[in-house]
């Protein structure tokens, strides 16, 4: 595979050259390449599964947990899902070339702000080999060259997936270097990749806190960190109790391991006595381990509940586990959320338009929900088609990181010999 014989900086430089050509290609060619990648994945399924078997064997020998081995494992169905994913991304509207806004200036100059690719995006990811195809498809669709760095545990799978995709993309007319996998799982290689100033335009880590921490120490190029979510559901005094319970159950349990799951339940003191006994019993019966403050425990003495510690309010459980607090007012709820939330997804259940407005205005988070589950924070649910993660930072990308967020823009200004007076 050609890509692994180059050094990291050579690979990135080649990606930079490719990015100049990529930015000028029509969406027809880019979409065609994604479909060609999908076809090639299907055609090379057995080769991919063979490589995957070697990774699984090595993983078993190294004593990886069953959960990690499952994340690593591919089969025909999973390969087909990757191909389908690439085709879905190909079918999305092209973000490149979109005119964001524009005007004719008083002096007659026309000015347009046009969405363009960032250039080169590096994606660093762990375990799941399907990210190889997913990340590549999102970056190429948005006109970016992509440099991939997977985990060593999936090295054989990733190498074959990247080689198959690279070959298919080149045959479909993408420039050489537009898609590359870099080898080397060490800290030094990570640092080399994360310091390609002027060459790599953005680095996106998709992995655990260890990876993020490692990057934070060394990166000199822009990073968008996929975020964790310490999310709250606030049940206002006027909330419909059935809606409130349904939303709390859904936000907590529909998929507890995700960043948009709720971790906290806040209840207005006025309804704590009526709402909490049934609600906490239902959450407990559904298998949620509860941590309650004094008033929550008092309100539902029949429900098994731990004493919530101050640490609980800042903890993302990513599990069927939830901390519950009673607050005296909407203002207190907002203050609690802004103090402890991670700025991801926050929900209020209320019948009051005034409370809804105040919550929307007061909460400092990427996504603020009124009478809906936090679980909707998702590129697919938001109609963005696909995402590469969720951002809780405030600059550039906030919320789902979709195709648009993988782009920048430039101002195109046209005149007829205009000079400044």
């Amino acid at each position: 595979m050609a890509t692994t014989s180059l050094s990291i900086s050579e690979t990135c430089a080649a990606a930079k050259r490719a990015s100049r050509e990529l930015a000028a290609l029509s969406s027809e060619v880019r979409d065609g390449a994604l479909c060609a990648i999908a076809d090639a994945l299907i055609a090379h399924t057995s080769e991919i599964l063979e490589a995957n078997a070697r990774d699984l064997e090595a993983g078993e020998a190294a004593g990886l947990s069953d959960a990690l081995l499952d994340r690593l494992a591919l089969d025909e169905r999973r390969v087909a899902a990757m191909a389908r994913g690439a085709r879905t991304i190909a079918s999305l509207p092209d973000p490149v070339g979109e005119v964001i806004d524009g005007s004719t200036l008083p002096n007659g100059l026309t000015k347009r702000r046009v969405r363009v690719p960032l250039g080169v995006i590096a994606v660093i990811y762990e375990a799941r080999p399907n990210v190889t195809i997913d990340a590549a498809a999102l970056c190429l669709k948005s006109g970016n060259a992509v440099v991939l760095r997977g985990s060593s545990s999936a090295m054989h799978s990733n190498a074959v997936l990247a080689a198959v995709a690279e070959r298919a993309a080149a045959q479909a007319g993408l420039p050489a270097g537009a898609l590359a996998l870099v080898a080397g799982g060490g800290r030094e290689e990570l640092a080399e990749l994360a310091t390609q100033t002027g060459v790599v335009d953005l680095i996106i880590p998709r992995g655990g806190e260890g990876l993020k921490a490692a990057l934070k120490g060394v990166a000199t190029i822009p990073v968008i960190y996929a975020a964790s979510g310490n999310n709250h559901v606030f049940v206002d005094a006027s909330a419909d109790p059935r809606d409130a319970l349904a939303i709390a159950l859904n936000a907590k349990l529909q998929r507890p391991g995700t960043c948009n799951a709720a971790e906290k339940l806040l209840v207005h003191a006025e309804v704590a006595g009526t709402f909490l006994p049934d609600a906490l019993a239902a959450l407990s019966a559904a298998g949620v381990r509860l941590h309650g403050d004094a008033r929550a425990r008092d309100a539902a003495p029949g429900v098994e509940m731990d004493v919530a510690t101050s640490e609980d309010w800042d903890t993302e459980y990513l599990a069927p586990e939830m901390a519950v607090a009673v607050v005296d007012s909407l203002a207190d709820a907002i203050e609690h959320v802004n103090a402890h939330g991670s700025g991801h997804s926050e929900a209020i259940v209320t019948a009051s338009t005034a409370s809804a407005r105040a919550f929307q205005l007061g909460i400092d988070a990427a996504c603020v929900y009124v009478n809906a589950s936090t679980r909707f924070t998702d590129g697919g649910e938001f109609g963005m088609g696909a995402e590469i993660g969720n951002s809780t930072q405030k600059l550039h990308a906030r919320g789902p990181i979709g195709l648009r967020e993988l782009c920048t823009f430039k101002y195109l200004v046209e005149g007829s010999g205009h000079i400044r007076a």
Copy 2:
């Protein structure tokens, strides 16, 4: 002055608290505060000029250059200009609350992406005391709390300006802490300010390369660096020679010390022989010191010109000085610009729609001009009303950093008990 008695982290924490209230204030209150600041500046002119006299005295004693002393000096006219600037910013459209886009999702959820303040913005600046008011007005207008850190050479002026503005803002209904000046010009204080993670949302340095370098080493919070511009004017084969000369002269000379001035002239080989003799004679006669490559020097043997070194192509002169090269094609021009430009403002002069399109597509820069001077890259010229600098980074802000770029957004999602299936 209350602000200086707090530590940097206390000042930032107070700004954070203020930012929560600021984000919920109507534009009427924020605009009223800017007008109140303008009135107060006029009312306190003599106090401001007294403080400025102390800075000038200290500056003279310290042997500051005449240029620096001029930048430092205030008089009635300059104070009035500051007040006028604040009123102009107050009159701009409010970026806060603008619905950027939105839709009703297939499941009936309504989703809006709404522009909101970033929170707390720290502005670090050098010499000119007017930045105190200018930066404060832009930040407050966009609903942000602002922490200012000026240079020690303007400490008395800045202290009075900030105190006058702070008092006026508070009387007009802005929360305490919304505007604060921090003292301490040392590296340690800079580092403390630049590491207020979760408190200060953005730091904007307005100063020289030394300040930027100092920040790059220590900042853990997002920074937008006001950019330098190594900008090019490319004269295509089909260019109208009069337009080309007028644009080159304007881009170089209308204000040579600015980041949007042109530093390089590239000329298509087909017209080098006809265009360059007159054009370079005119630039030279206008006082521009020229550095030419071999072909440029050959084309205009009668014009005094230095031999352009490889360093010249990467140098921003910020002076009446320009390097000139002959290129064989539009593609070579694009490659040269992308290799040496700083991604700020790039112009082509051409009569060919095909060349214009290719240049717009191929150039990787914040602002790409067709038949117009690079000098138009400016918040005011772009109809953004005002700016706090120009960005050549690709994430979040690219080009003029106006009110919109001092904001982030959040998704507001409304349902009627929606849960995810």
